[in-house]
Amino acid sequence: MTSHAPPAPPVQASPPPLPRRAVRLPPWAPLLAGAAAATAAYLAFRGTATLPHDPEAAPFRIIGDVRAWADANRNQSPVFLFFVNYVRLFVGGLYDVLLTVLTAPGWAGLSGIATGIGLLAGGWRTGLLTALGFGSFGVLGVWEASVTTLALVLTAVLLSLAAGLPLGILAGHSARLRRLLDPVLDVMQIMPTFAYLAPMVLFFQIGPASAAVATMIYSVPPAIRITALAIRQVSPSAVEASVSLGATRGQTLRKVELPMARATIGLAVNQTIMMALSMVVIAALIAAPGLGSDIIRGLTRADVGVMLPAGLAIVVMAIVLDRVTSSAAARPPYGAARPGKARALSASRLRWLCAAAVALGGPALGRALPEEFPAGLVLRLAGPVNEAVDAVTFSWYDLTEAVRNLTTEALLNPLQTVLTSAPWWLVAAVVLAVAWRTGGPRPAAVAVGCLLATALIGLWQHTMETLTTVLVAVALTLLAGVLLGIAAARSPRFAAVQRPLLDAAQTMPAFVYLLPALALFGATRFTAVFASVIYAVPPVIRLVEDGVRNVSPAAVEAALSCGSTGWQLLWKVRLPMARRAILLAANQGIVMTLAMVVVGGLVGAGGLGYDVVSGFSQRADFGMGFAAGVATVLLGIMLDRITQGAGARPSPRTTTGKKRIA
């Protein structure tokens, strides 16, 4: 107490006169003021300048006319005659050939060959998994649909790789091409799946060819991106050494770059296949044959029993394809031989022999076995599953009903009322302000432009409805994702339990998530919210966990040595330093949520997704469906710009041109 007097004067004396002290505002003041202004404007202008939905809006009619023209001129216009129709013929032909090849060996034969490939790629475990997987297609009673889906996936993947690998290699070498491709690929990757479908119908009609092209376009970005990355990751001094020895470009590519990039290119193939598999299911909306059509049928009728076998088969197929391709990619570039070379050699020879035996034995056995998968082995799931679903919904009714009603009444309805009854200019102004604050003027301009464009194409109200669902789902996703991510980063044991679950969740195609949601909650808006939350949470968890965990150990050590408690460490060091990762997680979560909410249109989410679906089922609504597809893209770009800006802001982009002046 006695020491109180002396230190005071110098502190007061040191700062120069500060007349502006009263003006200094806390950093959140502008935010608060903005929110207050927006609220006031909303209360004052509520109900004015809204843009209610009009199913006969002019843009819809124009698109409908375009389709009518396309249908009428399919066999006259040179664009169709000399280009589009050939593409359709070629892709359709490729699909037919692949389907024939896959069907020819019979179920036993195909399973045998697949098992052989699995054995070669990843050893006996993968081989066994493949055998069980293919067997399960038969047991689930969806053998034919599975083979059809496989053929369609293969068609799309072959096309994607044929286009994507060369383009990726070129992009890996040329920074200029990369700069050209990057924005295009960005937009392609945030486009919700539904948006790809309508233009396909316009050009290629409906059917497998059109579905394969849509799937190919959807799955080509990772093929290009990851291949380019793979090429760029090749050690520059190995490339330089090759060039310095007088290798031609082709020699360097073949002997140095491709072998050294092999594992990463394998990842590109793996990602392409996974993307294709998830798209092929959605492409059932434009009459793609296979498992997807069962799922769509089940979804539209809210019949879980019909969906479940197809859904399980899709999941199994995803796991098998993922394991086979990723273990093929992960194999060391040479025989895993260190000490006992001779033994390892014979082991690899043995594996080849086994694989060949299985691959040949399957078809041979297939001759003896019946051509159809034996009916006695098929599990008839539809009845029991529906009973079980009924039982669950009945016994959990109180709980599910409470959760659903709470979310709907407390979050969805009020927000939707606000968004749809607010004047359009107010919504636009809020988006502008938020995007400007997070990303600066350019992202803000893009975001507002996209928002206003949805109004121009006549879908303002439905866009607002979808936005409502997305915002609620994103809030729940981030809440769950950040909490679980932090928990996993703090507790290795929790992470160890969670990690395989996340792995499995990320292998599954998007549609599968609708299945449990539908079973629990029936066809409502909340179902879409629930499905998108469980769809988008895994990557968010993973990004947050990695971000929090990868904080520089030196900083953590420094904080600990100052005596921080665990919570202080988390709040003051780990979370602030993981800010980028968390913002990236938010961005990912939003893009994925949007994709799923749109798909949720099939199970009662309404909004744009429903417009897209009805555009395919009713010809009269085609224009609206097409426009709704465009609107989902616009919405996606808007949300992406807002969140990406926030992630990119803290560090000015560092473009380090690789100059060597050593």
């Binding site: 050690s235 001094s237 190995a238 490339v239 330089e240 050494a241 090759s242 060039v243 310095s244 020895l245 007088g246 290798a247 031609t248 020699q251 002997k255 140095v256 072998p259 050294m260 092999r262 570039p333 040479y334 260190r338 070379k341 100059k659 060597r660 002046i661 050593a662």
Partner: protein, 369 residues
């Protein structure tokens, strides 16, 4: 040798004249104009360009080890890459064994790289997916040599660099020093006339680095290639280089033997560089000889002028009389114990006398003979 700067224009293995490399937009516009004379910072400020190599010229004799030394960022790695156009120079002339490299077509250039010049890299640049023997044979493989032939040659070279028995190993199973031996073997396998080394040992531990330097000296004795060796390590430069070029900010500041650099640094930069070099180990008696003082006895031991100071110590120990320094059979001055001690203590030659007999161009000349 003949000309004042120690190069011999006739029959040079490598000759470079007026070489420029400017990174950045519109580099060639910088070159012709007045901007070329700007300092590095001013140039970047004004044009956004970086002149990594500025008007560099030198010649390397056949069979010589020519070291280019400089700190990082001085442009030495760019310079060596310009020699075979791994980096395209902006201007200048390069000739390797009489061939004009800058005018060579892509296929001529490939021929040059395949058969006549090969390079060893700082980070080895080995191919992890290939066995050691296939790494060594890579140069022959791109030439189209059949498998059996190139493997035989690769094994020969592997035993030359001391890697017998590692032919079937993978590069990542070897230590850093052994990996660089593979890199060396790969460069030697094509039997080039010229070997370029880009800081080959700076990623290695000091002990291994010393081994590898000895290895290069041994190989140079055995195979007698022309070598251009880039390094940022002065002791490495002094150990290996017959002549050393010191680079700073893209230009060559001085070219000369170790003795010339230490004894007569061209400017403060070089002087600063060589300050810690033990003078007694590098300089010869030529640098400290002086005219005999009146009355000094001239019947001491006789040593040639090229004797390294350290090597004159035994003679000085044996006899208290001043050593007589002889060049071309004629006495040119004397050195006594004090002179030797002062030189070994790192003091500049106390009397700083130019040599007694006026040789053209002062101490910098003739030292390499």
């Amino acid at each position: 040798m003949a000309s004042p700067d120690g190069t011999s224009p006739d029959g040079a293995a490598i000759e470079v004249r007026g070489l420029w490399k400017i990174f950045g937009p519109r580099a060639d516009r910088v070159l012709g104009g007045p901007d070329a004379a700007l300092g590095p910072d001013a140039l970047r400020e004004k044009t956004g360009c970086v002149a990594a190599v500025r008007d560099v010229g030198f010649a390397v004799r056949p069979g010589e080890v020519f070291v280019v030394m400089g700190l990082s960022g001085s442009g030495k790695s760019t310079l060596v890459r310009c020699l075979t156009r791994l980096i395209e120079p902006t201007a200048g002339e390069i000739s390797i064994s009489g061939e004009d490299v800058r005018a060579a077509s892509p296929s001529r250039l490939r021929e040059l790289r395949r058969h006549r010049v090969s390079m060893v890299f700082q980070h080895f640049g080995l191919l992890p997916h290939r066995k050691v023997v296939d790494n060594v044979a890579y140069g022959l493989e791109v030439q189209g040599v059949p498998r059996a032939g190139r493997h035989e040659r690769a094994r020969e070279i592997l035993s030359l660099v001391g890697l017998d028995g590692f032919a079937e190993a993978r590069p990542d199973e070897l230590s850093g020093g052994m990996q660089q031996r593979v890199g060396l073997a790969r460069a030697l396998a094509v039997d080039p006339e010229v070997l370029l080394f880009d800081e080959p040992f700076s990623a290695l531990d000091p002990l291994i680095r010393r081994d590898m330097q000895a290895e290069v000296v041994r190989l140079h004795r055995e195979v007698g290639k022309t070598m251009v060796f880039i390094t940022h390590d002065l002791s490495e430069a002094l150990k290996l280089g017959e002549r050393i070029a010191i680079m700073r900010a893209g230009s060559i500041v001085q070219v000369g033997t170790a003795e010339e650099l230490v004894g007569a640094p061209a400017d403060d930069y070089v002087a600063d560089f060589v300050r810690d070099v033990p003078r007694g180990e590098v300089l010869s008696l030529r640098w400290i000889r002086r005219a005999p003082a009146p009355g000094e006895r001239l019947d001491g031991p006789v040593l040639p002028a090229g004797t390294i100071i350290r090597d004159a110590v035994p003679a000085a120990l044996e006899s208290a009389r001043p050593i007589r320094v002889v060049e071309d059979g004629e006495p040119t001055g004397v050195v006594d114990r004090l002179d030797i001690l002062a030189a070994m203590a790192g003091r500049p030659p106390v009397p700083a006398v130019p040599p007694q007999r006026p040789s053209p161009g002062g101490p910098a000349s003739g030292a390499g003979s």
